[in-house]
């Protein structure tokens, strides 16, 4: 089965992430970029499926030139090839633009049986782009999967969120997004790292990918950030004395902060 995996390069969550004051865009150059950890799990899921059922894994990534490192990591794990949508015209795209662009690229590939993605990126946190891509491509979206079973042309997942769990079934082709519980991703072998450099990575321009310039990037985004205010430095905070009612005092504080 031929599988597409969507990957994204994001700032390391342990680093200090900053938004540019001028346009509110994430400053991707300011931190160490990494392959978003959930994508490692999506790649792992894809590899397990092709190891069991045959087929190949194509990585699709929309991101700046530096995203090549993240793509290479996915190739080192065992993916076969990649499409890197790196045209600068796409910078500052909103979620809708991103979903449409990714759908356009996927739609241009041959015989895609399954699209795999992580549930959500650790930087944007919209947590909907996979389902949006599926909607554009008119594919069933089976999201928050913690378990995937493929039987012939039918795929079943166990979808688990904090509301509970359900089983979802669909006919291929379909799209699945995975949660952290899906698997433990493999470490790339050194053989895989060496082999990655020979694997094909195409970098289509937006024109070649069929994306209209007038609809791409910050200038035509469907939402716009109008102001960005960093949090003021921490003040000392409140100290409570526990005379046996410490728990109650904490509860009052949390309720006032609308946390409970």
């Amino acid at each position: 089965m031929n599988i597409v995996v969507l990957v994204k390069q994001v700032p390391d969550t342990y680093s200090e992430r900053t938004l540019r004051a001028a346009d509110g865009i994430l400053d991707r150059a300011a931190t160490d970029p990494v392959l978003d950890e959930i994508n490692e799990r999506a790649v792992e899921a894809a590899l397990q499926l092709t190891e069991a059922h045959g087929g190949e894994v194509t990585v699709v990534c929309m991101g700046p030139a530096s995203a090549a490192d993240s793509i290479r990591k996915a190739l080192s794990m065992g993916a076969d090839r990649a499409v890197h949508l790196s045209d600068d015209a796409l910078a500052g795209s909103c979620a809708v633009q991103t979903a449409r662009a990714l759908a356009q690229v996927i739609g241009g590939l041959d015989h895609v049986d399954l699209v795999l993605a992580g549930n959500g990126a650790s930087d944007g946190r919209v947590s909907a782009v996979p389902a949006m891509v599926a909607d554009v491509l008119d594919l069933p979206a089976l999201t928050h999967a913690r378990q995937i079973t493929v039987d012939g042309t039918t795929v079943t997942v166990r979808r688990e969120t904090d509301r509970g769990a359900v089983g979802l079934t669909a006919e291929l082709p379909a799209l699945i997004s995975v949660s952290e519980k899906i698997n433990e991703p493999r470490y790339p072998s050194f053989k895989g790292i060496m082999a990655a450099k020979k694997k094909p990575v195409t970098q289509p321009s937006i024109a070649a990918a069929g994306i209209a310039a007038a609809e791409a990037g910050l200038a035509s985004a469907l939402t716009t950030v109008t102001s960005v205010v960093p949090r003021p430095p921490k003040s000392a905070g409140q100290k409570l004395t526990d005379d046996g009612d410490g728990g109650a005092q904490i509860a009052v504080y949390l309720a006032a902060q609308k946390l409970i």
Binding site: R72, Y187, S189, I193, M194
Partner: protein, 384 residues
């Protein structure tokens, strides 16, 4: 500068150490537990194939890359670097000196770690004087009969291939011309007689081997010709010295990283302790020594790959890295104060592991002999 791929190799090992080794090492090491799962993961990554090129292996790396991979393993747990060090030396010996048949027999399985290899040089009575070894391999028909004892052989039980330094001609003069390396495997007549208890370097077994009328096949001599073992081993020790130097670098790095982090968190007299000059000085000196050691190791490694004479340089790297690692480990204890003495922190393990690299794989006293002799022979240091 390492290629992008080799940087990715070192980076993968570093990530693996942070995610898989550091969370478990303290308890495992204290319990002297053999790190089965970690070693299996090392095999899967390809650590045991780092020195093995096609057609027997698939992803060999340069000596500088190998040194940095070793340092990363050691940064997590020095014993892990010890579980693959001798193996790589034996692989390089087979590549440099083995017959095609010997290479085909061992290298493919060594690349996957299915066969692990170790060297056996040191004898209970012998120590540094390798020409005075007494382990004897006597030709008898179409096999060798081996008698003698070796000690401090790490990974002895789990290695299927032992590169044994022995005398095939005790009467040869000069004495080194009677020395051969025999490729032996476990079998009748070879007993792993005991596991030696150690200050550090825990988890992996270091043993005494007893050979009593052990029979090795007639084609077990490395390279097929007797009397070349001493020269072969000397070449192998170049890799060994770089390996041990890299182990020391890893331990020093771990000790320094912990001390740097601690010194920023811990406060005394109203400020983070790194701001006290004494503490800041330890950090500055440690970082300087580590940076110098790293450069010296890479220098020796690059010369090795370029085919240049590097026995002195590898000896310098081993000498320097192991000595500074001990200093850095002690200074890390100082920075941690009382907690440096606590077994609930990792610092004490670095302190116990560091001395091995001073006395093992050629004591530092021997390294100094080697360096001094080379200095005279070469007419001093290179200009520029």
């Amino acid at each position: 500068m390492l290629s992008t791929e080799e940087q990715a190799v070192v980076g993968t090992v570093a990530d693996w150490v942070d995610r898989e080794v550091r969370p478990v090492v303290r308890d495992m090491e204290h319990a002297n537990t053999y790190p089965d799962k970690l070693i299996e993961q090392m095999k899967e990554m390809g650590i045991y194939g780092l020195a093995i090129p096609e057609p027997w292996g698939e992803a060999p790396v340069s000596m500088p890359c190998y040194a940095l991979v070793t340092a990363e393993l050691s940064r997590g747990w020095m014993s892990l670097a010890g579980a693959m060090g001798g193996h790589t030396v034996v692989a390089k010996l087979l590549l440099a000196f083995g017959t095609r048949e010997q290479q085909d027999r061992y290298l493919p399985k060594m690349a996957t770690g299915e066969i692990r290899a170790t060297m056996a040089l040191t004898e209970p009575g012998g120590g540094s004087d390798l020409q005075a070894i007494t382990t004897r391999a006597r030709r008898d028909g179409d096999s060798y009969v081996v008698s003698g004892a070796k000690t401090w052989i790490t990974n002895a039980r789990r290695s299927r291939l032992i590169a044994l330094l022995c005398k095939t001609d005790p009467d040869a003069r000069p004495r080194y011309k009677g020395v051969s390396i025999l490729l032996v495997e476990h079998g009748p007549g070879l007993t792993v007689s005991k596991d030696l208890p150690k200050l550090g370097y825990k988890g992996v077994e270091s043993c005494e081997l007893m050979f009593e009328d052990y029979r090795a096949p007639g084609d077990a001599v490395l390279g097929g010709v007797e009397g070349r073992g001493f020269a072969q081993m000397m070449k192998g020790l170049e890799t060994g010295r770089i390996q041990v130097a890299s182990r020391a670098l890893g331990v020093a790095r771990a000790a320094f990283d912990d001390a740097l982090a601690y010194a920023q968190q811990r406060e005394s007299f109203g400020k983070a302790i790194w701001k006290h000059q004494s503490v800041g000085n330890y950090l500055a000196d440690s970082a300087t020594k580590i940076t110098a050691a790293r450069q010296l190791i890479l220098y020796a490694a690059e010369r090795f790959d370029a085919g240049q004479r590097c026995d002195m340089e590898a000896g310098m790297a081993k000498l320097f890295a192991s000595e500074i690692a001990m200093q850095v480990a002690l200074d890390a204890v100082r920075v941690h104060g009382g907690y440096g003495y606590s077994t609930e922190y990792d610092v004490e393990r670095y302190f116990r592991d560091a001395p091995l690299m001073i006395v093992g794989e050629g004591t530092n006293e021997i390294q100094r002999n080697v360096i001094a002799a080379q200095l005279v022979k070469r007419g001093g240091l290179d200009r520029g």
